[in-house]
Subunit: 380 residues, 2 copies
């Protein structure tokens, strides 16, 4: 049976907010919380190798079950003994359940009590994703943190729809836990953890009641889903704060989906420990660079984003990254000027996308280091 | 005045062929010949950073004047003090004259005695490339080895056309040398070298006569142009052998344009010192991997190419590169299996193109190391 007290140690709660420092224990390392997970959708952080992510200092990455299930497929993971060996990555891996991508397919999927039937976005072939199958795929992938299958309800769902959906997500979570316990020993990662997911739109009562139900089932950690699909930031903050009071304090909390740097700070202040976000990598590929302006995280202008493709940088000798640290990635990135990186984007050299991806992932990881240090110093 | 005896030291000629070992002295390092130049068309070897090329151990790269002239443009190089600083590359750089790309534009260009008028492939804007302007652009780029403007005559040109064209290339070469000497001191690289280019199709007499003319003008090195634009390999070998007898032995010889690994070995045996080739990088982006089969360079099957995208590699745990050496690139590439690299190509992750590019450039550089060592051992 999974025990949340085993997988997470709460080290410290801030004196000035609900921010927490802790350690999440996985079979591929102990992770200092709060942390951020770069997204390796199809088994690679776009433009980066596993060694690059290692050099960036990230102890964990996130990969998507839906994509990995379609390609390379479960048989490849069985042959290789899991995603870690397949992509040569020794850090931790979190996989989602596959549900989010399937639900995003819109007209191409149908929900029943049993699960979801969907058509592949690649070739239109028909597949079924059930709670049991999601866990089986994740166990073949061998991820360190596996997620239950949930329905991520669209922003603006009616109360009736939300109520029904949340009840089904609870039933699916129970089935996931049963399947998880059944297959774990024989899986590609017997030390894996299972996280529940909280849903309920922006209806406080539904969210709180669902959090209690998930806590009663008992998971190694709890994710907050459905809050970066079009909600107002103020609603998301209110829900996260309400959940902070109703989720076990001795288990990690994971805010699923996109969050800008200043939003991460606010969620950390409301008790969240884990984040993922496609923005640093996706934006990088469009030439949007994140960089710090000052060290005071309490002021939302602590960072800025600049379009490196801008004409203003044509002659700029300013380095892509000001290397305050001596790590190899920062050292490399400090070699290249904004003028050069702008040129790479202008002439469509992939290297531009890669360099800004490295810079942005480094920014998010550095943000988390600053957050952990601010909590330790009682400044958050 | 340029003196070929200053820039090149011939160290050794093979006892069993016309293969040579030497050292080419540039303002960014002494280069052991024979060597290979990875192609950084627009100021970057596609998918690789300057540090990557440095880590691969290449002491030189080649960049294209036509592309750099259009973007980022001469004013940027004037601001940055040349391409070395712009791309943060401390090794040597060879630039072509821009002529080859301009002549490839076909209907979009017109040749006169003065030079070539052409329309940009980007926006159709009208430009003129003269011998003087080509040198001026290369002097702004600040390359270590600059090339004269020549006409690369198409395969199958008539003897009349070839004769006229070669005579014009000679006149252009003289104008280039005058301009080179005039602007060098004030340029972004006062220590740069100037190479002449030999043309004449596959007509031995024309080639030899042109080689004598170029030698009389006097350059730091001599390129052999127009031999990878559709000729038979046997014709190219014959021409190269004829030129070996008619070019100064105390200057470097550069075979311009594409050459497969076994062709490079044959050209080296006929006295060539320098190569460039787009194949290792372009083929990499289509998933074609070069790898050694055995150490005997005299047998043309010493290497093979494999399509990593092949179904046969789906479950392959064979490493992309067998790390015989301890350099960081080989170490990294030996982490990734062909199965993983195949997957990256299947799901169109850029990382696949990058990893095979690294592997192929490494292959060509290793080939040149083996060639140099074979010459030293009298085995070529």
């Amino acid at each position: 049976m999974t025990q949340s007290s085993k997988s997470f140690d709460l080290l410290q709660t801030s004196i000035s907010s609900r921010a927490r420092r802790g350690v999440l224990h996985t079979s591929h390392g102990d992770l200092q919380t709060p942390f951020f997970m770069p997204i390796a959708t199809k088994g690679a952080v776009k433009t980066l190798s596993s060694l690059d992510v290692e050099n960036l200092g990230s102890p964990i990455l996130l990969s998507n079950t839906y994509h990995l299930y379609l390609r390379p497929g479960v048989d490849v993971f069985k042959e290789f003994g899991g995603l870690h060996r397949f992509m040569s990555w020794d850090g931790a891996i979190l996989t989602d359940s596959g549900g989010y991508q399937v639900f995003s397919l819109g007209a191409m999927r149908k929900i029943t009590e049993d699960g979801v039937v969907f058509a592949s976005h690649i070739d239109g072939s028909r597949h079924e994703l059930t709670p049991e199958k999601s866990i089986q795929i994740q166990q073949a992938i061998g991820s360190d943190i596996q997620m239950v299958l949930d329905e991520c309800t669209p922003s603006g769902s009616t109360l009736d729809y939300l109520t029904d959906s949340v009840a089904r997500t609870t039933r699916w979570a129970e089935r996931c836990k049963v399947e998880f316990q059944k297959g774990r020993e024989e899986s590609n990662n017997p030390g894996s953890l299972l996280f529940g997911i909280n849903q309920g739109g922006i209806v406080d009562d539904l969210r709180v009641e669902h959090a209690r139900q998930m806590s009663r089932i008992g998971f190694d950690g709890y994710a907050i889903g459905g809050l970066s699909v079009g909600e107002q930031f103020v609603d998301s903050c209110r829900i996260v704060a309400a959940l902070d009071q109703n989720l076990p304090t001795d288990a990690a909390r994971y805010f699923m989906g996109g969050a800008q740097p200043h939003e991460i700070v606010e969620y950390v202040k409301r008790g969240v420990d884990m984040f993922d976000c496609v923005l640093p990598t996706r934006n990088a590929r469009h030439g949007l660079l994140y960089r710090f302006r000052h060290h005071d995280l309490s002021s939302p202008d602590f960072y800025e984003t600049v379009h490196v493709t801008n004409e203003q940088f044509k002659y700029s000798k300013e380095p892509l990254v000001v290397a305050e640290e001596s790590d190899s990635v920062s050292q490399e990135l400090s070699r290249y000027s904004l003028g050069y990186v702008r040129h790479l984007f202008t002439v469509e050299e992939m290297l531009g996308q890669r360099l800004v991806t490295l810079a942005n992932v480094r920014f998010y990881l550095e943000l988390m280091r600053r957050i952990r240090s601010a909590i330790a110093d009682g400044q958050l």
